[in-house]
């Protein structure tokens, strides 16, 4: 195997002229982070809401929440992404669809990716939230109600604060997943880390360096997120219970 290693390639000016290849990678890194974080906000908000709805006594609401989760869980992420990106703009009323297609293509890629990742992950978050609520002792709900709390108050003051703490460890793994899943968005041309890695291979002809650098970036993201979440877990631990002292 006669491969010429050349790590200096990252400092060479890129094909676009105004940047280095390291700059390309960094741009991809920022895109991955920005996309994942904004999708995570959507996933947390919608996931918490849908997860709570799955546990309420109202059959219609709970049924809606179940359908939501099943829909997003049983179609591959790639297919969902293509539907958001290629199909949805076509299904809008012609005038709106045409106006949308006139907007900045990077914006379109980002929007589709963010909504897709956000909703896909929200279904998973919802499952964790539901599991967290259901794992609380049944008596907690009764104790809240017996004190005169209404059902929404019981959720708000008694069940959710505790369920939230139970759910943080599994949510950490969903949070990690969203960064990894964001790589799927390279398939619609969004220039995040994985896509920049592919470009680097094409432009620099140094495939090993390019891919090792991108792979390392993902590992760095992974380790950083894990460390932060562990700190967070310790901060919210309850004395005498899970993780507390």
């Amino acid at each position: 195997m006669n491969y010429q290693w050349n790590w200096g390639v990252f400092l060479q000016p890129s094909a676009s002229g105004d940047d280095t290849y390291l700059g390309w990678m960094f741009a991809g890194f920022k895109m991955t982070i920005g996309l994942s974080l904004s999708a995570w906000v959507i996933a947390l908000l919608l996931g918490a809401l849908v997860g709570v709805l799955r546990t309420v006594p109202n059959k219609v609401l709970a049924g809606f929440a179940t359908a939501y989760v099943e829909m997003f869980r049983n179609v591959p992420l790639l297919v969902q992404l293509f539907i958001w990106y290629f199909v949805l703009p076509e299904l809008l009323p012609t005038s709106i669809g045409d106006a949308y297609k006139q907007t900045n293509p990077v914006m379109q890629q980002f929007l589709a990716s963010m909504v897709c990742l956000g909703l896909f992950t929200s279904a998973r978050v919802a499952e964790q939230v539901r599991a967290g609520i259901n794992s609380l002792p049944r008596g907690q709900k009764n104790a809240g109600l017996a004190l005169g709390f209404t059902l929404p108050q019981t959720y708000r003051f008694v069940m959710l604060p505790m369920a939230f703490r139970l759910v943080v460890p599994p949510l950490t793994s969903e949070f990690l997943n969203i960064f990894k899943n964001s790589a799927v968005c390279s398939t619609i041309g969004l220039l995040e880390l994985a896509a920049q890695g592919r470009q680097l291979v094409d432009y620099t002809a140094q495939p090993f360096e390019s891919f090792i650098a991108v792979t390392l970036s993902y590992i760095i993201i992974n380790v950083t997120v894990m460390t932060l979440m562990h700190k967070f877990e310790r901060r919210i631990s309850v004395p005498g219970y899970i993780g507390g002292k």
Binding site: P137, G139, N142, L145, A146, L147, G148, F149
Partner: protein, 242 residues
């Protein structure tokens, strides 16, 4: 105070309660006992509407529990309940546990609620634990806090659902002592418990349930001296031997 009239309840085809009737007057202490699965916990949970029932009527201080127009939260705020597994809120300190419902349900001021809570905490002998979290207390201590939490709402009556059966034996008495004192002060109480010593000391009446029916409803003297049903005799024989 509490009137239970011909209450029946079933889950699907399984009959949990059959035609139960009894009443508790103001200041009375009633002990409900019976073998496990006899429906006694279900019955007491029907009193504050935690368990729905299909037929019959329960009124508490004149308010019908089964009536869909009744504001159940309002009613429950006036009826204290103590659970088998304490059910303190683990993510709140003892002080917060005592104050939260006073503030959010009764609309009391935070300081007022904390004051009241601490006074009651002192009464159950746990003032020193105010800043701790439930997970840092023993079972007996947690149950005493739970009683104080219920009392902080100024309840018109108290429901106890097997308050000592999750406790280690050496902690049972500290809880029973608090309950005994409460009874002596004239609190209206309905207690599901196997503690026959407690029943003998403070109960006015004893209700014995079996297979979802109220089999005996007697003064405690009558119940302990000569239980009428064979089931109650067997039950007493078993429990008193332990």
């Amino acid at each position: 105070m509490i009137k239970i009239a011909n209450v029946s309840k079933h889950y699907g085809s399984f009959q949990v309660l059959t035609d139960c009737s009894t009443s508790v007057s103001k200041g009375e202490v009633i002990v409900v006992c019976g073998p496990s699965g006899s429906g006694k916990s279900t019955l007491i949970k029907c009193v504050n509407g935690l368990e729905p029932f299909q037929s019959g009527e329960i009124t508490v201080d004149g308010t019908s529990v089964g009536d869909p127009k009744t504001n159940l939260s309002k009613l429950r705020a006036r009826v204290g309940m103590v659970f088998q597994n304490f059910e303190l809120f683990p993510h709140m300190s003892i002080t917060e546990n005592l104050a939260i419902a006073q503030v959010k349900v009764l609309g009391r001021k935070q300081d007022e609620a904390i004051d009241k809570g601490l006074k009651l905490l002192d009464r159950v002998g746990l003032k020193a634990q105010a800043h701790k979290f439930p997970g840092q207390l023993s079972g007996g201590q947690q149950q005493r806090v739970a009683i104080a939490r219920a009392l902080a709402m100024d309840p018109i009556c108290m429901l106890f659902d097997e308050p000592t059966s999750a406790l280690d034996p050496e902690m049972v008495n500290e809880v029973l002592d608090v309950m005994t004192e409460l009874a002596k002060e004239g609190m209206t109480m309905m207690c599901v418990t196997h503690e026959m010593g407690f029943a003998k000391r403070v109960a006015n009446r004893v209700i014995f349930m079996d297979q979802g029916r109220i089999v005996e409803d007697d003064s405690k003297e009558e119940f302990f001296a000569n239980p009428r049903s064979e089931r109650a005799q067997q039950f007493l024989a078993k429990i008193l031997h332990h």
